[in-house]
Protein backbone atom coordinates (compact mmCIF):
# COMPACT_ATOMS: atom_id res chain seq x y z
CA UNK A 1 0.00 0.00 0.00
CA UNK A 2 2.72 2.41 1.07
CA UNK A 3 4.85 1.32 -1.90
CA UNK A 4 2.06 2.07 -4.30
CA UNK A 5 1.64 5.47 -2.69
CA UNK A 6 5.36 6.16 -3.01
CA UNK A 7 5.23 5.12 -6.63
CA UNK A 8 2.35 7.41 -7.51
CA UNK A 9 4.03 10.23 -5.66
CA UNK A 10 7.25 9.56 -7.54
CA UNK A 11 5.41 9.43 -10.84
CA UNK A 12 3.61 12.67 -10.01
CA UNK A 13 6.90 14.26 -9.01
CA UNK A 14 8.57 13.20 -12.23
CA UNK A 15 5.71 14.49 -14.33
CA UNK A 16 5.28 17.79 -12.55
CA UNK A 17 8.61 18.72 -11.00
CA UNK A 18 9.07 21.37 -13.68
CA UNK A 19 6.04 23.14 -12.16
CA UNK A 20 7.64 23.46 -8.71
CA UNK A 21 9.47 26.72 -9.55
CA UNK A 22 6.08 28.30 -10.19
CA UNK A 23 4.92 27.87 -6.58
CA UNK A 24 8.33 28.49 -5.07
CA UNK A 25 8.21 32.32 -4.94
CA UNK A 26 4.83 32.22 -3.20
CA UNK A 27 6.16 29.66 -0.70
CA UNK A 28 9.29 31.72 -0.04
CA UNK A 29 7.21 34.85 0.65
CA UNK A 30 4.89 32.78 2.84
CA UNK A 31 7.76 31.31 4.86
CA UNK A 32 9.57 34.63 5.32
CA UNK A 33 6.63 36.89 6.12
CA UNK A 34 4.08 34.52 7.66
CA UNK A 35 5.73 31.39 9.04
CA UNK A 36 8.91 32.94 10.47
CA UNK A 37 6.77 35.38 12.52
CA UNK A 38 4.77 32.41 13.80
CA UNK A 39 8.01 31.00 15.22
CA UNK A 40 8.50 34.46 16.73
CA UNK A 41 5.37 33.88 18.83
CA UNK A 42 7.74 32.20 21.30
CA UNK A 43 8.48 35.77 22.43
CA UNK A 44 5.20 35.43 24.33
CA UNK A 45 6.97 33.00 26.67
CA UNK A 46 9.96 35.24 27.37
CA UNK A 47 10.53 37.59 30.27
CA UNK A 48 12.13 41.03 29.92
CA UNK A 49 13.39 40.45 26.43
CA UNK A 50 15.88 43.22 25.72
CA UNK A 51 15.90 44.14 22.07
CA UNK A 52 17.77 47.37 22.68
CA UNK A 53 20.81 45.90 24.41
CA UNK A 54 21.19 43.16 21.79
CA UNK A 55 21.04 44.40 18.26
CA UNK A 56 20.46 40.89 16.95
CA UNK A 57 16.89 39.85 17.87
CA UNK A 58 17.89 36.19 18.13
CA UNK A 59 20.57 36.98 20.73
CA UNK A 60 18.09 39.04 22.71
CA UNK A 61 15.62 36.20 22.50
CA UNK A 62 18.11 33.59 23.71
CA UNK A 63 19.32 35.74 26.60
CA UNK A 64 15.84 36.21 28.10
CA UNK A 65 14.26 33.82 30.64
CA UNK A 66 11.28 31.60 29.90
CA UNK A 67 8.02 32.50 31.64
CA UNK A 68 4.25 32.05 31.47
CA UNK A 69 3.53 35.15 33.52
CA UNK A 70 2.21 37.09 30.54
CA UNK A 71 -0.58 34.59 30.10
CA UNK A 72 -1.40 34.73 33.81
CA UNK A 73 -1.64 38.48 33.44
CA UNK A 74 -4.13 38.24 30.57
CA UNK A 75 -6.64 36.52 32.82
CA UNK A 76 -6.03 38.59 35.93
CA UNK A 77 -5.29 42.12 34.74
CA UNK A 78 -8.54 44.16 34.80
CA UNK A 79 -7.22 46.50 32.11
CA UNK A 80 -6.60 43.69 29.62
CA UNK A 81 -9.93 42.04 30.50
CA UNK A 82 -11.63 45.36 29.78
CA UNK A 83 -10.03 45.56 26.33
CA UNK A 84 -11.09 41.98 25.60
CA UNK A 85 -14.63 42.95 26.66
CA UNK A 86 -14.48 46.08 24.45
CA UNK A 87 -13.46 43.92 21.49
CA UNK A 88 -16.38 41.57 22.04
CA UNK A 89 -18.91 44.36 22.71
CA UNK A 90 -17.95 46.34 19.59
CA UNK A 91 -17.97 43.17 17.48
CA UNK A 92 -21.36 42.06 18.80
CA UNK A 93 -22.82 45.55 18.29
CA UNK A 94 -21.53 45.52 14.72
CA UNK A 95 -23.08 42.12 14.03
CA UNK A 96 -26.44 42.75 15.73
CA UNK A 97 -26.99 46.22 14.27
CA UNK A 98 -25.23 45.99 10.93
CA UNK A 99 -25.61 42.40 9.78
CA UNK A 100 -29.29 42.59 8.66
CA UNK A 101 -28.97 45.90 6.82
CA UNK A 102 -27.16 44.67 3.67
CA UNK A 103 -29.96 42.12 3.20
CA UNK A 104 -32.56 44.91 3.34
CA UNK A 105 -30.50 47.07 0.99
CA UNK A 106 -30.07 44.21 -1.49
CA UNK A 107 -33.84 43.62 -1.56
CA UNK A 108 -34.41 47.33 -2.14
CA UNK A 109 -31.80 47.50 -4.92
CA UNK A 110 -33.21 44.49 -6.74
CA UNK A 111 -36.77 45.78 -6.39
CA UNK A 112 -35.86 49.03 -8.15
CA UNK A 113 -36.88 48.10 -11.69
CA UNK A 114 -35.23 51.02 -13.43
CA UNK A 115 -31.88 49.49 -14.41
CA UNK A 116 -30.08 52.80 -14.70
CA UNK A 117 -31.24 53.87 -11.25
CA UNK A 118 -30.31 50.49 -9.77
CA UNK A 119 -26.81 50.62 -11.30
CA UNK A 120 -26.22 54.20 -10.16
CA UNK A 121 -27.36 53.30 -6.65
CA UNK A 122 -24.97 50.38 -6.51
CA UNK A 123 -22.06 52.51 -7.76
CA UNK A 124 -22.75 55.05 -5.01
CA UNK A 125 -23.21 52.66 -2.08
CA UNK A 126 -20.23 50.43 -2.95
CA UNK A 127 -17.79 53.35 -3.18
CA UNK A 128 -16.97 53.90 0.53
CA UNK A 129 -15.69 50.31 0.80
CA UNK A 130 -12.79 51.18 -1.50
CA UNK A 131 -11.53 54.07 0.58
CA UNK A 132 -8.97 53.83 3.35
CA UNK A 133 -10.08 54.15 6.98
CA UNK A 134 -7.76 57.15 7.19
CA UNK A 135 -9.93 58.88 4.59
CA UNK A 136 -13.26 57.83 6.11
CA UNK A 137 -12.26 58.90 9.62
CA UNK A 138 -10.82 62.13 8.24
CA UNK A 139 -14.12 62.94 6.55
CA UNK A 140 -16.20 62.14 9.63
CA UNK A 141 -13.87 63.98 12.01
CA UNK A 142 -14.42 67.04 9.87
CA UNK A 143 -18.19 66.65 9.54
CA UNK A 144 -18.60 65.94 13.25
CA UNK A 145 -16.11 68.59 14.42
CA UNK A 146 -17.21 70.93 17.22
CA UNK A 147 -17.77 73.75 14.70
CA UNK A 148 -18.64 71.32 11.88
CA UNK A 149 -21.85 71.07 9.85
CA UNK A 150 -23.60 68.45 12.00
CA UNK A 151 -23.24 70.36 15.26
CA UNK A 152 -24.25 73.63 13.54
CA UNK A 153 -27.22 72.02 11.84
CA UNK A 154 -28.64 70.66 15.09
CA UNK A 155 -27.44 73.50 17.29
CA UNK A 156 -25.47 71.09 19.46
CA UNK A 157 -21.94 71.22 20.83
CA UNK A 158 -21.07 67.56 20.98
CA UNK A 159 -17.42 66.53 20.80
CA UNK A 160 -18.31 63.35 18.89
CA UNK A 161 -14.84 61.86 18.67
CA UNK A 162 -13.90 62.67 22.25
CA UNK A 163 -16.93 61.31 24.12
CA UNK A 164 -16.22 57.93 25.64
CA UNK A 165 -19.94 57.10 25.86
CA UNK A 166 -20.57 57.81 22.18
CA UNK A 167 -17.46 56.13 20.84
CA UNK A 168 -18.77 52.59 20.29
CA UNK A 169 -21.90 53.87 18.56
CA UNK A 170 -19.77 56.06 16.33
CA UNK A 171 -17.61 53.03 15.48
CA UNK A 172 -20.71 51.03 14.54
CA UNK A 173 -22.23 53.88 12.53
CA UNK A 174 -19.06 54.57 10.53
CA UNK A 175 -18.44 50.89 9.94
CA UNK A 176 -22.00 50.63 8.61
CA UNK A 177 -21.55 53.68 6.41
CA UNK A 178 -18.43 52.16 4.86
CA UNK A 179 -19.45 48.54 4.49
CA UNK A 180 -23.25 48.06 4.26
CA UNK A 181 -23.30 48.82 0.54
CA UNK A 182 -20.46 46.50 -0.33
CA UNK A 183 -21.76 43.70 1.90
CA UNK A 184 -25.03 43.77 -0.04
CA UNK A 185 -23.34 42.55 -3.26
CA UNK A 186 -23.45 38.92 -2.27
CA UNK A 187 -27.19 39.16 -1.53
CA UNK A 188 -27.88 41.09 -4.72
CA UNK A 189 -26.34 38.30 -6.79
CA UNK A 190 -28.22 35.68 -4.72
CA UNK A 191 -31.53 37.47 -5.33
CA UNK A 192 -30.84 37.85 -9.06
CA UNK A 193 -30.36 34.09 -9.22
CA UNK A 194 -33.90 33.38 -7.97
CA UNK A 195 -36.21 31.84 -10.60
CA UNK A 196 -38.48 34.70 -11.85
CA UNK A 197 -41.31 32.20 -12.36
CA UNK A 198 -41.70 32.00 -8.58
CA UNK A 199 -42.64 35.69 -8.52
CA UNK A 200 -44.99 35.32 -11.49
CA UNK A 201 -46.79 32.49 -9.70
CA UNK A 202 -47.00 34.56 -6.53
CA UNK A 203 -48.41 37.50 -8.46
CA UNK A 204 -51.08 35.22 -9.92
CA UNK A 205 -51.89 34.15 -6.39
CA UNK A 206 -52.38 37.81 -5.59
CA UNK A 207 -49.38 38.17 -3.31
CA UNK A 208 -48.35 41.79 -2.71
CA UNK A 209 -44.76 43.01 -2.72
CA UNK A 210 -44.14 42.48 0.98
CA UNK A 211 -45.65 39.02 0.80
CA UNK A 212 -43.42 38.18 -2.19
CA UNK A 213 -40.30 39.40 -0.38
CA UNK A 214 -41.19 37.56 2.80
CA UNK A 215 -42.29 34.31 1.18
CA UNK A 216 -39.97 34.06 -1.83
CA UNK A 217 -36.95 36.36 -1.67
CA UNK A 218 -35.96 35.82 1.96
CA UNK A 219 -36.41 32.00 2.00
CA UNK A 220 -34.52 31.73 -1.29
CA UNK A 221 -31.47 33.62 -0.02
CA UNK A 222 -31.64 32.22 3.51
CA UNK A 223 -28.73 29.80 2.92
CA UNK A 224 -26.58 32.76 1.81
CA UNK A 225 -27.68 34.78 4.85
CA UNK A 226 -26.89 31.92 7.23
CA UNK A 227 -23.50 31.28 5.62
CA UNK A 228 -22.57 34.96 5.81
CA UNK A 229 -23.72 35.20 9.43
CA UNK A 230 -21.72 32.17 10.48
CA UNK A 231 -18.61 33.44 8.70
CA UNK A 232 -19.12 36.87 10.27
CA UNK A 233 -19.35 35.39 13.75
CA UNK A 234 -16.06 33.61 13.04
CA UNK A 235 -14.40 37.02 12.89
CA UNK A 236 -15.76 38.05 16.29
CA UNK A 237 -12.29 38.69 17.73
CA UNK A 238 -11.53 41.21 14.99
CA UNK A 239 -13.26 44.45 15.95
CA UNK A 240 -11.43 46.37 13.23
CA UNK A 241 -7.90 47.65 13.98
CA UNK A 242 -7.66 49.84 10.87
CA UNK A 243 -10.85 51.66 11.80
CA UNK A 244 -10.35 52.06 15.53
CA UNK A 245 -6.68 53.07 15.31
CA UNK A 246 -7.65 56.09 13.20
CA UNK A 247 -10.56 57.02 15.53
CA UNK A 248 -9.30 56.45 19.06
CA UNK A 249 -7.72 58.97 21.41
CA UNK A 250 -6.77 58.89 25.08
CA UNK A 251 -10.24 60.11 26.10
CA UNK A 252 -12.04 57.27 24.35
CA UNK A 253 -9.71 54.47 25.32
CA UNK A 254 -11.93 53.30 28.17
CA UNK A 255 -14.70 52.03 25.92
CA UNK A 256 -12.91 52.02 22.59
CA UNK A 257 -9.53 50.29 23.06
CA UNK A 258 -9.65 46.82 21.53
CA UNK A 259 -7.15 43.97 21.70
CA UNK A 260 -5.58 44.97 18.37
CA UNK A 261 -4.91 48.60 19.29
CA UNK A 262 -3.71 47.59 22.78
CA UNK A 263 -1.24 45.06 21.34
CA UNK A 264 0.12 47.81 19.09
CA UNK A 265 0.20 50.48 21.80
CA UNK A 266 2.23 48.46 24.31
CA UNK A 267 4.72 47.11 21.75
CA UNK A 268 5.44 49.80 19.17
CA UNK A 269 3.00 52.61 19.94
CA UNK A 270 2.68 55.16 22.74
CA UNK A 271 3.69 52.79 25.56
CA UNK A 272 6.20 50.77 23.55
CA UNK A 273 8.48 48.08 24.88
CA UNK A 274 6.31 45.39 26.50
CA UNK A 275 7.11 42.88 23.77
CA UNK A 276 6.44 39.70 25.74
CA UNK A 277 3.04 40.79 27.03
CA UNK A 278 2.02 42.22 23.67
CA UNK A 279 2.92 38.99 21.89
CA UNK A 280 1.10 36.92 24.50
CA UNK A 281 -2.10 38.96 24.17
CA UNK A 282 -1.81 38.75 20.38
CA UNK A 283 -1.26 34.99 20.54
CA UNK A 284 -4.23 34.50 22.87
CA UNK A 285 -6.38 36.56 20.51
CA UNK A 286 -5.11 34.70 17.45
CA UNK A 287 -5.75 31.26 18.91
CA UNK A 288 -9.30 32.13 20.01
CA UNK A 289 -9.97 33.69 16.61
CA UNK A 290 -8.61 30.64 14.80
CA UNK A 291 -10.77 28.27 16.86
CA UNK A 292 -13.83 30.43 16.22
CA UNK A 293 -13.22 30.47 12.47
CA UNK A 294 -12.61 26.71 12.30
CA UNK A 295 -15.74 25.95 14.36
CA UNK A 296 -18.01 28.38 12.52
CA UNK A 297 -16.74 27.20 9.15
CA UNK A 298 -17.53 23.59 10.12
CA UNK A 299 -21.03 24.68 11.14
CA UNK A 300 -21.45 26.63 7.89
CA UNK A 301 -20.39 23.61 5.84
CA UNK A 302 -22.80 21.35 7.74
CA UNK A 303 -25.68 23.82 7.56
CA UNK A 304 -25.50 24.84 3.93
CA UNK A 305 -22.77 22.89 2.21
CA UNK A 306 -20.57 25.92 1.65
CA UNK A 307 -17.66 27.38 3.54
CA UNK A 308 -14.89 29.84 2.95
CA UNK A 309 -12.29 27.18 2.17
Amino acid sequence: MKDAFDKTLKAKWKKNKSLVPFVLPAIVFGVLFSYLPMVGLLIAFKDNINFIRYDNPIQAFLAADWTVKHFQKIFSDPEILKYIANTLIISVLKIVILFPLPVVLAVMITEAQNRGFSKATQMAVFLPHFLSWVVITGIFKSILALDGPVNRLFGTEIFWFGEDKLFRWLVVFMSGWKEIGYSSIVYVSAILAIDPNLYEAAKLDGAGKFRQIWSITIPSILPTIITMLIIRVGYLMDAGFDQIYTMISSTTRNSGEIIGTYVYRISLGENAGQYGLSTAVGLFNGVVALLLILITNKIAKKATGTGIY
Partner: protein, 314 residues
Protein backbone atom coordinates in the same frame (compact mmCIF):
# COMPACT_ATOMS: atom_id res chain seq x y z
CA UNK B 1 -43.94 52.80 -12.99
CA UNK B 2 -45.87 52.37 -16.24
CA UNK B 3 -44.17 49.08 -16.86
CA UNK B 4 -45.29 47.72 -13.54
CA UNK B 5 -48.86 48.75 -14.22
CA UNK B 6 -48.73 46.96 -17.54
CA UNK B 7 -47.62 43.66 -16.06
CA UNK B 8 -50.37 43.89 -13.49
CA UNK B 9 -52.92 44.45 -16.27
CA UNK B 10 -51.59 41.55 -18.22
CA UNK B 11 -52.02 39.33 -15.20
CA UNK B 12 -55.61 40.40 -14.63
CA UNK B 13 -57.35 38.24 -17.27
CA UNK B 14 -55.89 35.11 -15.71
CA UNK B 15 -57.90 35.60 -12.56
CA UNK B 16 -59.41 32.05 -12.60
CA UNK B 17 -55.95 30.47 -12.03
CA UNK B 18 -55.42 32.65 -9.03
CA UNK B 19 -58.44 31.09 -7.38
CA UNK B 20 -56.52 27.88 -6.93
CA UNK B 21 -54.24 29.68 -4.48
CA UNK B 22 -54.33 28.99 -0.76
CA UNK B 23 -55.89 32.35 -0.04
CA UNK B 24 -57.98 33.15 -3.07
CA UNK B 25 -57.86 36.87 -3.65
CA UNK B 26 -61.13 38.69 -4.16
CA UNK B 27 -61.48 41.41 -6.73
CA UNK B 28 -61.17 44.40 -4.34
CA UNK B 29 -58.08 42.80 -2.77
CA UNK B 30 -56.46 42.63 -6.16
CA UNK B 31 -56.78 46.35 -6.74
CA UNK B 32 -55.51 46.88 -3.23
CA UNK B 33 -52.37 44.95 -4.14
CA UNK B 34 -51.81 47.01 -7.24
CA UNK B 35 -52.14 50.05 -5.04
CA UNK B 36 -49.83 48.53 -2.42
CA UNK B 37 -47.25 47.73 -5.10
CA UNK B 38 -47.28 51.25 -6.40
CA UNK B 39 -46.80 52.67 -2.92
CA UNK B 40 -44.05 50.11 -2.30
CA UNK B 41 -42.12 51.19 -5.36
CA UNK B 42 -42.49 54.88 -4.66
CA UNK B 43 -41.30 54.44 -1.06
CA UNK B 44 -38.50 52.18 -2.25
CA UNK B 45 -37.23 54.75 -4.74
CA UNK B 46 -37.40 57.51 -2.14
CA UNK B 47 -35.52 55.46 0.48
CA UNK B 48 -32.85 54.39 -2.01
CA UNK B 49 -32.38 58.01 -3.06
CA UNK B 50 -31.93 58.98 0.59
CA UNK B 51 -29.38 56.19 1.07
CA UNK B 52 -27.45 57.35 -2.00
CA UNK B 53 -27.49 60.90 -0.64
CA UNK B 54 -26.25 59.65 2.73
CA UNK B 55 -23.31 58.08 0.88
CA UNK B 56 -22.54 61.05 -1.35
CA UNK B 57 -23.28 64.12 0.82
CA UNK B 58 -20.10 63.69 2.91
CA UNK B 59 -18.08 63.85 -0.32
CA UNK B 60 -19.89 66.99 -1.48
CA UNK B 61 -19.23 68.47 1.95
CA UNK B 62 -15.48 67.82 1.85
CA UNK B 63 -15.21 69.18 -1.70
CA UNK B 64 -16.99 72.35 -0.55
CA UNK B 65 -14.60 72.64 2.40
CA UNK B 66 -11.53 72.08 0.24
CA UNK B 67 -12.60 75.06 -1.88
CA UNK B 68 -13.52 77.31 1.06
CA UNK B 69 -11.93 80.24 2.83
CA UNK B 70 -12.24 80.06 6.62
CA UNK B 71 -14.92 82.47 7.82
CA UNK B 72 -15.81 80.88 11.15
CA UNK B 73 -19.09 79.56 9.73
CA UNK B 74 -19.71 75.87 9.13
CA UNK B 75 -19.49 74.79 5.49
CA UNK B 76 -22.38 72.64 4.29
CA UNK B 77 -22.78 71.83 0.60
CA UNK B 78 -21.47 74.99 -1.02
CA UNK B 79 -18.02 76.51 -0.51
CA UNK B 80 -17.61 79.83 1.32
CA UNK B 81 -15.62 82.43 -0.62
CA UNK B 82 -14.09 80.03 -3.13
CA UNK B 83 -10.31 79.78 -2.95
CA UNK B 84 -7.60 77.55 -4.43
CA UNK B 85 -5.41 78.13 -1.38
CA UNK B 86 -6.03 74.63 0.03
CA UNK B 87 -5.35 72.76 -3.19
CA UNK B 88 -2.32 74.85 -4.09
CA UNK B 89 -0.98 74.21 -0.58
CA UNK B 90 -1.36 70.47 -1.17
CA UNK B 91 0.21 70.58 -4.63
CA UNK B 92 3.22 72.57 -3.45
CA UNK B 93 3.74 70.55 -0.29
CA UNK B 94 6.78 68.39 -0.96
CA UNK B 95 6.24 65.81 1.84
CA UNK B 96 2.68 65.25 0.53
CA UNK B 97 3.88 64.84 -3.03
CA UNK B 98 6.69 62.54 -1.85
CA UNK B 99 4.21 60.35 0.01
CA UNK B 100 2.00 60.30 -3.06
CA UNK B 101 4.95 59.02 -5.10
CA UNK B 102 5.80 56.42 -2.44
CA UNK B 103 2.22 55.16 -2.46
CA UNK B 104 2.16 55.07 -6.26
CA UNK B 105 5.46 53.17 -6.41
CA UNK B 106 4.53 50.74 -3.66
CA UNK B 107 1.13 50.14 -5.28
CA UNK B 108 2.54 49.52 -8.76
CA UNK B 109 5.43 47.30 -7.64
CA UNK B 110 3.37 45.51 -5.01
CA UNK B 111 0.49 44.77 -7.36
CA UNK B 112 2.77 43.53 -10.16
CA UNK B 113 4.76 41.35 -7.75
CA UNK B 114 1.76 40.01 -5.86
CA UNK B 115 -0.37 39.19 -8.89
CA UNK B 116 2.63 37.66 -10.70
CA UNK B 117 3.62 35.46 -7.76
CA UNK B 118 0.00 34.47 -7.04
CA UNK B 119 -0.76 33.65 -10.68
CA UNK B 120 2.33 31.46 -11.06
CA UNK B 121 1.37 29.56 -7.92
CA UNK B 122 -2.25 29.31 -9.07
CA UNK B 123 -1.08 27.86 -12.39
CA UNK B 124 0.96 25.11 -10.73
CA UNK B 125 -1.73 24.35 -8.13
CA UNK B 126 -4.42 24.12 -10.80
CA UNK B 127 -2.81 20.84 -11.96
CA UNK B 128 -4.73 18.08 -10.22
CA UNK B 129 -1.67 15.82 -9.95
CA UNK B 130 0.77 18.45 -8.71
CA UNK B 131 2.83 16.74 -5.97
CA UNK B 132 1.62 17.54 -2.42
CA UNK B 133 -1.06 19.83 -3.90
CA UNK B 134 -3.31 19.45 -0.85
CA UNK B 135 -0.43 20.10 1.52
CA UNK B 136 0.61 23.25 -0.32
CA UNK B 137 -2.97 24.54 -0.23
CA UNK B 138 -3.08 23.93 3.53
CA UNK B 139 0.21 25.85 3.79
CA UNK B 140 -1.48 28.88 2.20
CA UNK B 141 -4.81 28.57 4.02
CA UNK B 142 -2.98 28.64 7.36
CA UNK B 143 -1.48 31.98 6.26
CA UNK B 144 -5.01 33.27 5.69
CA UNK B 145 -6.25 32.15 9.12
CA UNK B 146 -3.37 32.80 11.49
CA UNK B 147 -0.52 35.26 11.81
CA UNK B 148 2.40 35.93 14.09
CA UNK B 149 1.16 39.37 15.06
CA UNK B 150 2.82 42.74 15.41
CA UNK B 151 5.89 42.02 17.54
CA UNK B 152 7.09 38.84 15.79
CA UNK B 153 6.49 40.47 12.39
CA UNK B 154 8.48 43.49 13.48
CA UNK B 155 11.47 41.44 14.59
CA UNK B 156 11.46 39.23 11.50
CA UNK B 157 11.59 42.38 9.39
CA UNK B 158 14.43 43.63 11.58
CA UNK B 159 16.33 40.36 11.10
CA UNK B 160 15.83 40.55 7.34
CA UNK B 161 17.14 44.13 7.38
CA UNK B 162 13.95 45.48 5.81
CA UNK B 163 12.91 47.87 8.61
CA UNK B 164 12.66 51.50 7.47
CA UNK B 165 12.83 50.56 3.79
CA UNK B 166 10.04 50.82 1.18
CA UNK B 167 10.36 47.05 0.68
CA UNK B 168 8.74 46.66 4.10
CA UNK B 169 5.60 48.15 2.56
CA UNK B 170 5.64 45.74 -0.39
CA UNK B 171 6.78 42.28 0.74
CA UNK B 172 4.42 41.52 3.67
CA UNK B 173 1.34 41.85 1.42
CA UNK B 174 2.57 39.80 -1.53
CA UNK B 175 0.86 36.56 -0.51
CA UNK B 176 -2.89 37.15 -0.93
CA UNK B 177 -4.43 33.75 -0.35
CA UNK B 178 -7.93 34.76 -1.35
CA UNK B 179 -6.60 35.96 -4.72
CA UNK B 180 -4.64 32.72 -5.09
CA UNK B 181 -7.81 30.66 -4.62
CA UNK B 182 -9.72 32.89 -7.01
CA UNK B 183 -7.07 32.62 -9.74
CA UNK B 184 -6.67 28.87 -9.19
CA UNK B 185 -10.42 28.34 -9.62
CA UNK B 186 -10.36 30.42 -12.77
CA UNK B 187 -7.40 28.56 -14.31
CA UNK B 188 -9.02 25.22 -13.42
CA UNK B 189 -12.01 26.31 -15.49
CA UNK B 190 -9.87 26.73 -18.64
CA UNK B 191 -10.27 23.70 -20.96
CA UNK B 192 -7.29 21.34 -20.63
CA UNK B 193 -7.16 20.58 -24.37
CA UNK B 194 -5.71 23.98 -25.31
CA UNK B 195 -2.84 23.50 -22.90
CA UNK B 196 -2.21 19.88 -23.81
CA UNK B 197 -1.95 20.53 -27.52
CA UNK B 198 0.60 23.24 -26.81
CA UNK B 199 2.60 20.80 -24.67
CA UNK B 200 2.53 18.26 -27.51
CA UNK B 201 3.94 20.94 -29.77
CA UNK B 202 6.87 21.12 -27.35
CA UNK B 203 5.96 24.25 -25.40
CA UNK B 204 7.43 24.57 -21.90
CA UNK B 205 5.32 25.30 -18.83
CA UNK B 206 6.47 28.90 -18.84
CA UNK B 207 5.47 29.33 -22.48
CA UNK B 208 2.08 27.74 -21.84
CA UNK B 209 1.48 30.02 -18.88
CA UNK B 210 2.59 33.23 -20.58
CA UNK B 211 1.25 32.62 -24.09
CA UNK B 212 -1.95 30.72 -23.38
CA UNK B 213 -3.16 30.95 -19.79
CA UNK B 214 -2.44 34.60 -19.05
CA UNK B 215 -4.33 35.90 -22.12
CA UNK B 216 -7.26 33.58 -21.35
CA UNK B 217 -7.32 34.57 -17.68
CA UNK B 218 -7.11 38.31 -18.25
CA UNK B 219 -10.54 39.11 -16.77
CA UNK B 220 -9.65 37.32 -13.51
CA UNK B 221 -6.15 38.82 -13.44
CA UNK B 222 -7.52 42.32 -14.01
CA UNK B 223 -10.05 42.07 -11.20
CA UNK B 224 -7.50 40.60 -8.79
CA UNK B 225 -4.97 43.29 -9.79
CA UNK B 226 -7.44 46.11 -9.18
CA UNK B 227 -8.35 44.76 -5.74
CA UNK B 228 -4.69 44.26 -4.85
CA UNK B 229 -3.90 47.80 -6.00
CA UNK B 230 -6.64 49.25 -3.81
CA UNK B 231 -5.33 47.22 -0.86
CA UNK B 232 -1.79 48.55 -1.35
CA UNK B 233 -2.94 52.13 -1.89
CA UNK B 234 -5.06 52.16 1.29
CA UNK B 235 -2.63 50.27 3.51
CA UNK B 236 -1.08 52.25 6.35
CA UNK B 237 -0.56 49.40 8.82
CA UNK B 238 2.72 48.15 7.33
CA UNK B 239 4.17 51.67 7.43
CA UNK B 240 2.90 52.12 10.99
CA UNK B 241 4.83 49.14 12.31
CA UNK B 242 7.83 48.86 9.97
CA UNK B 243 8.79 52.53 9.51
CA UNK B 244 10.05 54.72 12.33
CA UNK B 245 9.45 58.48 12.31
CA UNK B 246 13.06 58.94 11.22
CA UNK B 247 12.23 57.39 7.84
CA UNK B 248 9.15 59.46 7.15
CA UNK B 249 10.41 59.99 3.62
CA UNK B 250 8.94 56.54 2.94
CA UNK B 251 5.56 57.21 4.56
CA UNK B 252 2.73 56.21 2.24
CA UNK B 253 -0.01 58.74 1.63
CA UNK B 254 -2.55 57.19 4.01
CA UNK B 255 -0.19 57.38 6.98
CA UNK B 256 1.00 60.86 6.01
CA UNK B 257 -2.60 62.14 5.94
CA UNK B 258 -3.47 60.43 9.22
CA UNK B 259 -0.49 62.05 10.93
CA UNK B 260 -1.25 65.41 9.34
CA UNK B 261 -4.85 65.32 10.57
CA UNK B 262 -3.67 64.48 14.09
CA UNK B 263 -1.07 67.24 14.16
CA UNK B 264 -1.97 70.68 15.49
CA UNK B 265 -1.15 73.93 13.66
CA UNK B 266 0.65 76.59 15.64
CA UNK B 267 -1.62 79.55 16.39
CA UNK B 268 1.41 81.83 16.58
CA UNK B 269 2.64 80.85 13.13
CA UNK B 270 1.11 81.67 9.76
CA UNK B 271 -2.43 82.75 10.69
CA UNK B 272 -3.94 81.98 7.25
CA UNK B 273 -2.46 78.50 7.40
CA UNK B 274 -3.71 78.09 10.98
CA UNK B 275 -7.27 78.89 9.89
CA UNK B 276 -7.18 76.90 6.68
CA UNK B 277 -5.60 73.73 8.11
CA UNK B 278 -8.84 71.80 8.54
CA UNK B 279 -9.75 72.64 4.92
CA UNK B 280 -6.28 71.68 3.68
CA UNK B 281 -6.90 68.26 5.26
CA UNK B 282 -9.96 67.88 3.03
CA UNK B 283 -7.98 68.85 -0.07
CA UNK B 284 -5.37 66.23 0.89
CA UNK B 285 -8.07 63.59 1.25
CA UNK B 286 -9.63 64.47 -2.11
CA UNK B 287 -6.32 64.32 -3.98
CA UNK B 288 -5.53 60.99 -2.30
CA UNK B 289 -8.75 59.34 -3.49
CA UNK B 290 -8.49 60.54 -7.11
CA UNK B 291 -6.49 57.42 -8.16
CA UNK B 292 -9.19 55.22 -6.61
CA UNK B 293 -11.96 57.15 -8.33
CA UNK B 294 -10.03 56.81 -11.60
CA UNK B 295 -10.05 53.01 -11.46
CA UNK B 296 -13.42 52.72 -9.68
CA UNK B 297 -15.55 52.29 -12.85
CA UNK B 298 -13.35 49.34 -13.84
CA UNK B 299 -13.42 47.91 -10.32
CA UNK B 300 -17.20 48.25 -10.27
CA UNK B 301 -17.40 46.25 -13.49
CA UNK B 302 -15.45 43.42 -11.91
CA UNK B 303 -16.41 43.19 -8.29
CA UNK B 304 -19.73 41.42 -8.61
CA UNK B 305 -17.96 38.75 -10.61
CA UNK B 306 -15.11 38.62 -8.10
CA UNK B 307 -17.43 37.94 -5.20
CA UNK B 308 -19.39 35.29 -7.04
CA UNK B 309 -16.32 33.51 -8.41
CA UNK B 310 -14.91 33.29 -4.91
CA UNK B 311 -18.08 31.93 -3.34
CA UNK B 312 -19.06 29.44 -6.02
CA UNK B 313 -16.31 26.99 -5.18
CA UNK B 314 -15.87 26.14 -1.53
Amino acid sequence: MEEIMKTEEMVAPEEPIAEKALTPPTAPKKTMHIHENRVFHIVNYILLTLIVLLCLVPFVNIIAKALSTYTGKAVFLLPHEITWYNFSYVFTNWPYFRSFLVSAGVTLCGTALSVGVMFAAAYALSKQDFPLRKGVMVFFIIIMLFSGGIVPNFFVMKMLGLLNTPLALVFPSVVQVYNLILLKNYVEGVPREIEESAHIDGATNLQVMVKILIPVSLPAIASVALFTAVTYWNNYFNALIYLSPSSEQFYPLALFINNYINSAANELGDLTYYHQKSFIEMAMIIVSIIPILAVYPFVAKFFVRGVTVGSVKG
